[in-house]
């Protein structure tokens, strides 16, 4: 079936099966490989993207369901060559080691900074529980998000 997805403000007309998961449509059909597949079981959060401003795990949604929504991937954050404030703080605080979990962490951070009010460290750590960093680099990830919240 043919579907239309709006990703980072651009329209993509894609040929999918109903069972095609959103993350595969984004990566393999739209060619946006910034969104990663980690566990493929909605545990690790590497595939996190925003749908209408809300973080979701794109391995656990069918592509066809995302029609009519605004999808934002990590590629859509920087504007005119300027990093998004969250990207900038991940860079400054070195919120990454191997970088595999980073796009998912950053997309979740976008939701947290937009929708959560208690950003104290212990709560922030709990809010991040849907995303895993196999390098265990959590300290700097938490620092980066805290830092971005100050900027905001």
């Amino acid at each position: 079936m043919r579907i239309n997805l709006k990703i980072n403000g651009e329209n993509y007309e894609l040929e999918v099966e109903p069972r095609t998961l959103l993350v595969y449509a984004i990566r393999e059909l739209a060619g946006l490989t910034g969104t990663h597949v980690g566990c493929d079981t909605s545990s690790c959060g590497a595939c996190t993207v925003l749908i209408d401003g809300k973080a979701i795990k794109s391995c656990t949604l069918f592509a066809v369901q995302a029609q009519g929504s605004d999808i934002t991937t990590v590629e859509g954050l920087a504007k005119d060559g300027e990093l998004h404030p969250i990207q900038r703080s991940f860079k400054e605080k070195h919120g990454l080691q191997c970088g595999f979990c980073t796009p998912g962490m950053i997309m979740l951070a976008c939701d947290i900074l937009e929708n959560e009010t208690d950003l104290k460290e212990d709560n922030l750590r709990r809010l991040l529980k849907g995303n895993l960093c196999r390098c265990t680099g959590y300290q700097n990830i938490v620092d980066a998000i805290s830092d971005a919240s100050m900027v905001k």
């Binding site: 998961l21 079981t41 849907g130």
Partner: protein
């Protein structure tokens, strides 16, 4: 992981969804948030040949105050519940429960109706809706009916819903000033699913317990209202001695499940201890 193929149908209204399920019968499933169904389809525990996508049926997404009840549309997400000012004010234990579910991403998509219909014995909602004495509203093209929550959970992953019915609404009595409720989950550290969870709603008459609804999940195949514990509490003073004595009755005569991570004896012990903590939390003692 790729689910088995299926035909996709999008419903734009409740009526449209109910007509489709009547025509398709048991080979079709409703797709709400999909946060349980899609993982099950990926590992092919579930292989529906037709999916009726109801995730965009806006008329099933609401939280409203109607007299003594809060009415919640089946497609209301966990995140909407945890952030709802009506829920936080009128039934704070439900907001807390919704917040305990999985993680932000799953709470943004998963729905209360989907979770209850899925009837996972380790899910967060069952003990809470049992303690709160909720009413489930199920609709088919032929009729709409109300199901008392005591009759809703039948077996593991099986709720009192017919193949042609959709869970459209959950009605929960608003908390009164003399009613206290709390919920605690001990989750598995990796999966987050409950090893034991417990919710209570206590009605106080001055210092005494007038009514008590105590419900458990996680360590049994069907979440249940512990009537023995509830009856013991009635008429007793709301203090730590009462709670300790009542905890001895928790899960009495119940078959308790165990596994590699948490065996049955441990879960039974944990259930008593969690009950004590939930009671203390509810009564603020």
């Amino acid at each position: 992981m790729i689910p088995a193929p299926f035909e996709y149908y999008k419903a734009n209204s409740t009526d449209e969804a109910l007509k489709l399920i009547r025509d398709f019968g048991e080979e079709a499933k409703f797709l709400a948030g999909g946060q349980s169904l899609i993982p099950m389809m990926k590992v092919r525990f579930a292989r529906p040949t037709k999916l009726i996508d109801i995730s965009k049926v806006q008329e099933l997404r609401y939280i409203s105050l109607d007299g003594d009840y809060i009415k919640i549309g089946g497609l209301t997400t966990h995140r909407e519940l945890e952030k709802s000012s009506i829920i936080i004010e009128k039934i704070p234990v439900l907001a807390h429960c919704a917040h305990e579910i999985a993680d932000i991403q799953i709470r943004n998509v998963g729905t209360i109706g989907g979770s209850l219909a899925h009837a996972d014995p380790s899910a967060d909602y069952p003990p809470v809706v049992l303690a709160l004495n909720a009413v489930i509203v199920a609709k088919s093209i032929a009729q709409e009916r109300e199901i008392p929550i005591n009759d809703f959970f039948l077996e593991a992953f099986t709720a009192e819903l017919r193949p042609d019915e959709l869970l459209v609404e959950i009605k929960i009595p608003v908390m009164k000033p003399n009613e206290k409720a709390a919920y605690i989950k001990i989750g598995h550290p990796a999966t987050g699913f409950s090893v034991v969870n417990c919710a209570v709603k206590i009605t106080l008459d001055k210092e005494k317990i007038e009514k008590a609804r105590v419900a458990f999940g996680g360590f049994v195949t069907v979440p249940y209202l512990d009537e023995k514990v509830g009856e013991f509490l009635i008429g007793k003073p709301a203090n730590i001695d009462t709670i300790t004595q009542a905890s001895e009755l928790v899960a009495e005569g119940r078959e308790v499940i165990g596994d590699y991570y948490a065996d049955a004896d441990y879960r039974r012990h944990l259930a008593k201890s969690v009950f004590v903590r939930v009671m203390k939390k509810a009564l603020e003692i």
